[in-house]
Symmetry: C2
Subunit: 788 residues, 2 copies
Amino acid sequence: MIEYTTGRGEWANWIVAEKEFDVRDLAKYESIFALGNGYLGMRACTEESYPGQTRNSFVAGTFNRFDDKEVTELPNTADFLALELMLNGERFHLEKGTIHEYSRTLNLKNGELTRRIVWESAKQEKYELLFRRFVSMQDLHLIGMRVEIMPLTGKADVVIKSGIDGTMTNSGAQHFHEGDKKISDGVYLQMTATTTETSIDFAFNCTHRLWIDGSPVSPISKHSIKRRYLGTEMKVSLQQDERLVLEKTCSIHTSNDVDNQCQDLEQLKKASLSHLKQEAEKGYETLFAESARKWEEKWEAVPIKMTTDQGFDQLAIRFAQYHLAIMTPSHDSRISIGAKGLTGEGYKGHVFWDTEVFILPYFLFTDPSQARKLLEYRYHTLGGARLNAKRRGFQGAMYPWESAGTGEEETPEWGPVDVVTGTPTRIWTGLIEQHITSDVAYGVWQYYRTTGDREFMIRCGYEIIMETANFWASRLEWDEPSGRYHINDVIGPDEYKEHVNNNAFTNYMAHWNLLTAIRCHEELLQADKEQWEKIIERIGLAESPNHWAEKAARIYLPQPRQIDEVIPQDDTYLQLKTIDLSKYRNQAQVGLILDDYNMDQVSQMQVSKQADLLVLFYLLENQFPKRVKQANWNYFEPLTVHDSSLSLSTHCVLACDVGDRELAYRMFEQAARIDLGTNMKSSDEGIHTASIGGIWKSVVLGFGGVRSLDGKLRIDPCLPAAWETLEFPIYWQGDKLSVRIDKNVLQITNTTNRNEWVTLEVRGNVHTFKKTLRLDLSEGGAAVEYAN
Amino acid sequence: MIEYTTGRGEWANWIVAEKEFDVRDLAKYESIFALGNGYLGMRACTEESYPGQTRNSFVAGTFNRFDDKEVTELPNTADFLALELMLNGERFHLEKGTIHEYSRTLNLKNGELTRRIVWESAKQEKYELLFRRFVSMQDLHLIGMRVEIMPLTGKADVVIKSGIDGTMTNSGAQHFHEGDKKISDGVYLQMTATTTETSIDFAFNCTHRLWIDGSPVSPISKHSIKRRYLGTEMKVSLQQDERLVLEKTCSIHTSNDVDNQCQDLEQLKKASLSHLKQEAEKGYETLFAESARKWEEKWEAVPIKMTTDQGFDQLAIRFAQYHLAIMTPSHDSRISIGAKGLTGEGYKGHVFWDTEVFILPYFLFTDPSQARKLLEYRYHTLGGARLNAKRRGFQGAMYPWESAGTGEEETPEWGPVDVVTGTPTRIWTGLIEQHITSDVAYGVWQYYRTTGDREFMIRCGYEIIMETANFWASRLEWDEPSGRYHINDVIGPDEYKEHVNNNAFTNYMAHWNLLTAIRCHEELLQADKEQWEKIIERIGLAESPNHWAEKAARIYLPQPRQIDEVIPQDDTYLQLKTIDLSKYRNQAQVGLILDDYNMDQVSQMQVSKQADLLVLFYLLENQFPKRVKQANWNYFEPLTVHDSSLSLSTHCVLACDVGDRELAYRMFEQAARIDLGTNMKSSDEGIHTASIGGIWKSVVLGFGGVRSLDGKLRIDPCLPAAWETLEFPIYWQGDKLSVRIDKNVLQITNTTNRNEWVTLEVRGNVHTFKKTLRLDLSEGGAAVEYAN
């Protein structure tokens, strides 16, 4: 049972709690209670083991491929979290005996996972147990664990088996060569492992310390080294009501670490061990306090508050920010964010358009330097994208649908079984879901226009945008009858339509990409001739990119039908048959339609997996009149089964745009519950990072109405009835603005003391201010007060 | 709780039973209740999963190496046995709810594993469940499973998840490339996999059939294909007291199969699927009956009976014969028997001297053609043995301490942690435990002298014996001071003495090997000049092997000390310090001494892991007078901690030889309990195949007193007080003799109608007979009756 109201007082709306243990919910909590820091990610596995658990720990960016038949993925590293507790000879676990008290909580504010249990064994002996755990936000390599055990009804002989378990695999795929194992000074356990393809060395270290009622004890210890396992078994005897405290301090370092100064494995072993010794000495409380301080700084940087009776909404935005913090490798711009972050094997750690379209906006507006790093990742992988284009016979850079370490296409070729034919389905996205290339360019442009960071554009951005335009210029297909360029055989955002021609989203975004490249070209040429020459040479461009303009001008851009202003999603969608979708909409489970139809059949019906045109309306907002948006909303929303976690938040933002607050709020509530809600099966393979980004988008871009529209800031708030006020910060052109919205008033304070003018559009009116702006929304955004 | 008296009537002493479920005992029963047929071996994992389980299935001979740092091993194949049963939404497993009745039994006679449970769920719903399972002795590829479920207290919605789980690893090492998965006709599940190094294709097939109260039902089925997993979920609703029967028929085929007629993977897929379809159609009972008939034949061929109040003894010999049947790859002479058979990952499926010295005798005397196949394996791997010698700078063939597919040395270099230094221990056996080479030659000679099979000798045997002699001739080291050949820096059978010089066992056996090679050379030269020439060429022998004789004559053979007739085990043993060993002898756990001392320290004490000289007395029985045997028994037995499962049975046989029936019986009882006894931790990584062979040796060679002494049959019975009679068959020179022993009478009947004379020595007297011989043992073996 998941509970949202456990936090009281200062912890109100900061705590997500599991109030009852049910082994069937293991995977749910493993994902949503995951700990991490962008470098490390660990599913919230329990210390004791249960069938059906998935013990995953990942280090960002350490991709490896098991064999030639598989795609690269984040390897599941050795497990530290498993502890076997024998209490008077009985193995502690919750499927046996009686649970008198149970509570597991994730504290979003300080990143600590806590579990408190009063358990009665089958022998009718009662114990109080308290488990605590954190992954340090201060020291990326560090994991702290702490266990308290107190026998309540008599003496207890306690045996704790703990260690480093390197038998972990990714659903059976072993990514590591077995390494060295060593126990130093009788207490420091060290194991190494090396990835089989990419030869990344890992060093795992841990040590244990014990106290009884506050006094340090040395247990009777027995070490064991088995295959891929290094462990120690500690025996302690407790009197009734004596409290045993075990601290396990653990660390992971790799040769791929950006902060790694080691020349070789021997140095890595030495350095990581001496680091562990030093840190473990400090003790759990100190290490945890250091980490909690870092979390405090993070929360202070991006406070988002709403006045509402719906505490869940406040909790949900914090849950989103918590996961955004632990999924993002802010330490290393060679790495980006996988579709499940570091919380599960799902999508193998691969990076999708999710990052640029659904997650990047959060960082754009709250931490621009982090946004820049995510885009630097795309620059870092530009070589792979060029290779993809070349392999497919195109020019320029073709970003991969699924990206890992190099930017080469990593999408697997085969997916789950087709229920009709009984054979695996072909996955086409890697070949034909090509809009990712403009999505990346769009992310770059948005960053530039929101921050004004020209240095980044010269170093990375211009090249990405022009090289992706080169791809589209070569990708377009001339259609003689219509005298237009077509883009045939693609998948748009709506992945229930495979092999379509002229997907509107794809065509419009390609068009946008070409036009923006022309702008970049001109801008760079004027600003920095020397850099212009270098980039032009790198992207192999003839002197003037006239062909971009020629092609952009003649791309076929599907127009609204006269009859109802509906834009054809692609050449055939509107002619397909319709079926009753009520069985598949608003269901607890996604993908139900695939139980009844196979992909070929679904492709032949007017049913959409997720927002398609609506995403286009959101990205190229000013190109479409409100009337057209409304018409297409009316047409497509009822055909959308929201079988992608990307769908609801887009709809929420669009519902705000078309002014339907109630529907927007309903969509937000649904979107916020994709991971955090009570569907216990939705997050088994990891949380949905795009959906997590979407929660913030719904709040700030949807209800807050914030947009960066080609260099202009617009705020058109649209608070849901349930919220009295909404406060959030945004960065705009290097200034940090504090925004406060209530039913009638929008107040903006520039908290950066640069004394620069800020220009802002609200409800069609343009305002400029330096320090504070206060507008009356009931009067259509009329100015009430300026403080400059 | 393990019980031996469950079998009654015709099943008396045929059933081993687990009467109480305890999750801590999983590994014990997984090993001792394992099913198999020499091709396939499957640990007795429960259908439902528990933490700590080891789900192992192996196909004999399909060795693969994970990477260059590891040694080759038998890969753990996909699992069929796991079934998840959801009963009204609750997962069936025995750590939750209440167990009202529980019994799991292994029927040694028909090879069926059965489990009957009355279980009450946490919701207080009662169910009766019956699980049955067999691995076919008739069709090597076939596994039959059957589950009955009956709700006793109300209706039940039953969901069964079943499939083929290819995520299995060997303690984390994945040996397979993921293969294809397909469901045909909605009911036939097929998955393939290919070993990563050796490229052996595996095809796994299974299908399910269901009945309610005898009527076939088609459940609501939902298929799932995940990574390395292919499954189906079946839903059925039952009324109270309705009985659901599920049959799951499974098969495994590989491209390495000796009976495989397929050219490629596609053919293998097709052939294996059509085989499964055909077999599954027959149904569990028919398939099981076919397998049980094969078992019946096996038991009829080697009936061993004792009249005794100690039913356990009768059960123990059957347990041994059961495991000898399932461990032995009688279908394929390219394969031999691993130290754990096919029952666990221990020793990685590698073949040791265990096979020739501890297991071969059983087949020599009960199934000579099988004995020949085991020796053909050594001929098949002679090339690898030659390579080993060459690599080490020796001549001839040097058999590997651990052997797998090729005969090359497969012993790992590093073993478990050294508790003193905290670093892994170096494993020296692969380099210096060289007596294996003469052990193999000895096995060949024993086979020849027991069967008279000259065809085998010409084809394989002579070459092995002469080529191993070549090894020894090159291995001997001239010691100038003594004017003798020494063998320095070896490990003898007592592995607690590493790096010793002139281990008596090693020197005597090398001596024997050289002398026997000279005999072979002469014999072959006289019998078949043409073959002699071929072999001489193959083994690169100069015309006359005079150097063998020269070297044999001058090998240093340690002689009994004058003072006490003790033979020095090696050059230093008798000078080492002694310690009080009572802490380490007769303990439930083996290897305790290594908790207190490391190998270097143990090497410096008079303590033996296992029989050493005593094995020599057993192998070269006639070379040592009884007086010397007794003296050495008296000296070494108290120094032996029996930390090897090979030790006790040798001691039992020797105790018989020195006439101590009581001690012999005590040793037998201990040896018989190594796997079958109540030490629940002794067999975790698999059963001890040498110990299993040792049980038969103790009975027939020890108490039965049977020996094949260089072509002469000797029987000197020595029944323990607890046995009234003992009956067993033995093969001798192609004839099958039925032996019956009671306190005073030895009766032998030749059941082969060849009308040939059999010569037999009993208590020093030589008898010849054709049909029956009856001797009065109380009169020292005087003849009572002949029937010719």
